[in-house]
């Protein structure tokens, strides 16, 4: 058994580009999924009854599906639905955003619900209206409780971006597996891929632990 690790260094440019796409996908998905998650959570909590039911159905549906299936589904259905030939990156982004929005919506809903009713009632007794009570009493506290959950969703999302490799989005996993197929250095490339994910993911996982300790709720 001889290993030739130079193959990793030879393809460094492709690997760096793939890593950049992975990071871009993570950031872009979160940038879409946070506002959309807030919107869905508000619709689910305060919307008109049919809208509430629709929002709940959306959240439950996407939380109970394997992401890889959503990715394939988006790849075949989105072009027909929109009539546009979307590039793989946009399709992957859409699938990830659909999935993470559902999780975020649930997180925001739980955060808002975790603030006791009495606080809103007290705020209204002090003369605030509903919107003021929400903005000045509920949201600042809910944010503190939501942050640790959002942080772990972030790490899950970072790892889940690897799944869009199945529709040929040129992110890290896809690039590494392409090089593997061309160079036949299977062990070297797969180990390099795992190592790059580890190097990026490990500090993030540790940061999540720190955020969870820092923002732990004590009542």
């Amino acid at each position: 058994m001889t290993f030739d690790w130079s193959v990793v260094w030879q393809h460094r440019d492709a690997l760096i580009a793939g890593t950049a796409t992975t990071i871009l996908l993570t950031v872009a998905t979160m940038a879409i999924a946070v506002p959309c998650g807030i919107a869905v959570a508000i619709l689910r909590l305060y919307g008109w009854a049919p809208v509430r039911a629709l929002a709940a159905a959306y959240v439950e549906f996407f939380r109970n599906l394997p992401l890889i299936l959503v990715v394939f589904w988006a790849f075949y259905v989105l072009p027909i639905l929109t009539g546009l030939g979307l590039p793989p990156l946009a399709t992957g982004l859409a699938a990830l955003a659909l999935n993470v929005t559902a999780y975020n919506a649930e997180t925001f809903r739980a955060g808002i619900n975790s603030i006791r009713r009495g606080q809103v009632e007290a705020a209204m007794a002090l003369g605030m209206n509903r919107v003021q009570a929400l903005r000045r009493v509920v949201v600042p506290q809910a944010l503190r409780r939501i942050l640790p959950v959002l942080a772990s969703t972030w790490v899950s999302l970072f790892k889940d971006t690897s799944l869009v490799s199945v529709i040929a989005v040129t992110e890290l996993a896809y690039v590494a597996m392409q090089i593997r197929a061309q160079s036949f250095r299977v062990l070297e490339m797969l180990t390099a891929m795992a190592a790059i994910y580890w190097l990026l993911g490990y500090p993030q996982a540790k940061l999540v632990d720190w955020i969870q300790r820092r923002f732990a709720v004590t009542e």
């Binding site: 439950e60 394997p66 027909i80 690897s162 299977v186 993030q204």
Partner: protein
């Protein structure tokens, strides 16, 4: 746009065999990661110090590496390293267990640590040994408190088995890909697969929640 779902009904046996493999892989890897996770958690909490550091490194590494990477690595790279070729199902079982055991271990640890240390001290004062305390005081309460987290881990396990399609395990996702490719009707096939996964997963998440509501009082102290 007209859809023809006869492709699904015509090949129901082919898809049903995929559902069977999905369920089998979910149950087996769920059980193996549960057992492995319990061992890992006990090592992390009560093991000798150097071993504890190794276990922490393992757990945090699995939180950092995507399950796809673990699966692909155990199917393609592990045989080169060990000279042992594994059939896809076994490789998927190994990969999923290695990945999910870390999560299971964190759940077990959180459950055990949620039992107040005062109870351990009280049990020590009553003359119990450490093993007795874990078995008779801590675990009976901790296990009930772990239930909701294990419920979501089970649904994560079922969802992660779909990723095993990448290493050609003939489970539902893989069978759907094959059928979609051969029939040129990906929309019908994948939409049907979505419904099947939802029908499997939704009762699991709901069922665990309902069961926990009934037994939650057992975990209070």
């Amino acid at each position: 746009m007209d859809f023809d779902f006869s492709v699904v009904t015509d090949h129901w046996r082919f898809l049903a065999s995929g559902v069977g493999i999905t369920l089998l892989l979910s149950v087996v890897s769920g059980l193996t990661s549960l057992v492995a996770g319990l061992v890992v958690a006990l090592l992390r909490l009560y093991g000798p110090r150097p071993l504890r550091l190794v276990v922490v490194l393992y757990i945090d590494s699995m939180r950092a590496i995507p399950v796809l990477v673990v699966l692909v690595w155990s199917f393609f790279a592990l045989p080169i390293l060990t000279g042992l070729t594994m059939p896809p199902f076994v490789a998927a079982l190994v990969g999923l267990t290695v990945h999910l055991a870390a999560y299971a271990a964190e759940i077990v640890r959180a459950g055990i640590e949620s039992v107040r240390p005062g109870q351990t001290r009280a049990a020590l004062a009553l003359g119990m040994s450490r093993a007795q305390i874990v078995r008779r005081i801590i675990l009976p309460q901790a296990i009930v408190r772990m239930l909701p987290a294990f419920g979501s881990l089970l649904s994560i396990t079922i969802k992660d088995t779909a990723i095993a399609s990448v290493i050609a395990v003939p489970e539902l996702m893989r069978q759907s890909e094959t059928l979609a490719g051969q029939s040129f009707q990906p929309i019908e096939v994948y939409t049907f697969a979505m419904l099947v996964y939802f029908v499997i997963l939704f009762p699991v998440t709901r069922g665990v929640d309902m069961f926990y509501q009934r037994v939650a009082h057992l975990g209070r102290s």
